[in-house]
Point group: C2
Chain length 292, copies 2
């Protein structure tokens, strides 16, 4: 019998509880076993993939020590423990879409606040994955070229999309690019838009249900001959009609609110791209504006 209870009745079923179990006992583990414990937490992937012998070698212990470690945690043997490490990889890899639907269910049934938070994280991650697949370089280049040639860049968005617009305005400002954020506070939008010319350009962001004011103003801008780059959610968006270049960004939603992460990432890439282009192809040696 060992100093610590030989076997916890129930072996951890998932990686998190396994991790917790290890951390809890960490202090009073025999030297070699502790060595394995540390290795396991530091290199979980190796344990998922390796064989008992190879892992033992990497951790500088005997294979038998590995098995003792597993048994100490309540597992039958090394193989049973390894299964948990493999399961972890599977889940981590398993499509975020699945995770998201699972979390949606969970939240519907009144799970804790943590579940809601996880849901938003999953929604954002999914959206980022999607947008990463769907945006193509050619569009990106065109949009950047178009905006880089503009005298003033007008940024237009309402409601849900407004945060994206305000971040664009902030970023372009920092990058010393003349920008006009079309604000709604004082009801002066029409006048602000009136000054736009074909030498300017506009970035417009809108998702279903498209704010009527945004569409209306997009139309006005188009009529004034202002080139338009749009970030929207489908080919059927009314914006697609007015825009010279448009991006389809499908943001996942959770608890009734859509993520903005994908739009934000795209917006930022456009801003930096415009700044780089303005600085000229020669300026490429220091393309990274160090601003916070």
């Amino acid at each position: 019998m060992s100093a610590i209870d030989k076997a916890t009745a129930a072996p951890p079923r998932d990686f998190e509880s396994l991790r917790a179990a290890i951390l809890e006992r960490r202090q009073n583990l025999p030297k070699r076993i502790a060595q394995v414990a540390a290795y396991a937490l530091d290199n979980p992937d190796d344990i998922a993939f390796g064989t008992a012998a190879s892992i033992a070698a990497s951790a500088s212990v005997q294979p038998s020590t590995l098995i003792r470690f597993a048994q100490l945690l309540g597992f039958d043997g090394f193989t049973a423990m390894q299964a948990v490490f493999r399961e972890r990889l599977r889940e981590r890899t398993s499509s975020y879409d699945d995770r998201l639907t699972a979390l949606r269910d969970k939240a519907e049934n009144g799970a804790g606040h943590r579940a809601i938070f996880d849901g938003f994280v999953a929604a954002a991650t999914t959206s980022l994955q999607d947008v990463s697949r769907s945006v193509d370089e050619a569009h990106l280049d065109q949009a950047i070229t178009l905006l880089a040639g503009a005298e003033t860049i007008h940024v237009l968005a309402r409601r849900r999309s407004y945060p994206v617009a305000s971040y664009i305005a902030y970023a372009l400002g920092k990058l010393q690019i003349r920008t006009q954020l079309i604000e709604s506070a004082a009801g002066m939008e029409a006048e602000m838009i009136g000054f736009a010319t074909a030498k300017d350009a506009a970035v417009i962001i809108s998702f279903a249900p498209y704010a009527p004011a945004t569409i209306e103003q997009a139309e006005t801008l188009a009529r004034l001959g202002v080139p338009i780059v749009a970030i929207t959610d489908s080919a059927f968006s009314p914006l697609a009609e007015f825009a010279d270049i448009w991006f389809e960004v499908a943001e996942a939603d959770f608890a009734g609110f859509r993520s903005l992460s994908a739009s934000m990432a795209l917006a930022m890439a456009i801003c930096i791209g415009v700044a780089e282009k303005r600085r000229g192809p020669a300026g490429r040696s220091s393309p990274e504006p160090k601003i916070r």
Copy 2:
């Protein structure tokens, strides 16, 4: 000898070329082998971890067919092919941090716009992963309880953090929670803040370098006895001093701009949490506000 060349000289080294090789030959593959091919593309994870016997069973073929399939692709045997499937999982799992640093280098050396975009996506993803680890439920509960009890929720943020504040204001508005976004446009912030009382509460978001105005106003709010929930970036943030509850959110940066995704996700979770709590524990049956 089989109808198709028995063994491609060089076996695919990575999953993508393996996939391509399979797709290319798909049409002229013997029935059982084709069955394996389809299974392999549909369930790559199973192949990574399963044993020849278990995979064969899942795909309804004999283990030997599995080996023939591997050899047809130029591998030595099943084990060699499986290695490619495992490698794929490893890479997919490999820390986003590594990817991010790689992309940063790439961008510094003047890579295309696509690389910049990927960088922002990676930065956002990393931030989300981090925040998901660091936020704990107890804090979340406390923050939600605090805000749920407020008459009016004041939302305060400047510059980079402002988009988060505007999204919070939008969300709380939709959720019919009385909200006051402290805007800076007309320079009336001081007056707006002056109306706040201990019965209200405030959400303040600020990251280094902390906008002086935000800190100053946070202090004022604290002096007025307004409970404060802060989202900031370190324990040394001046906000931590004034806040009753604060969250540490470390956003990764790229090309000089930090992601906002993690803060956004946290902010949304708080908003929904407050709305749920207000609706009362009984209202839990329909916790999902269907608003777009």
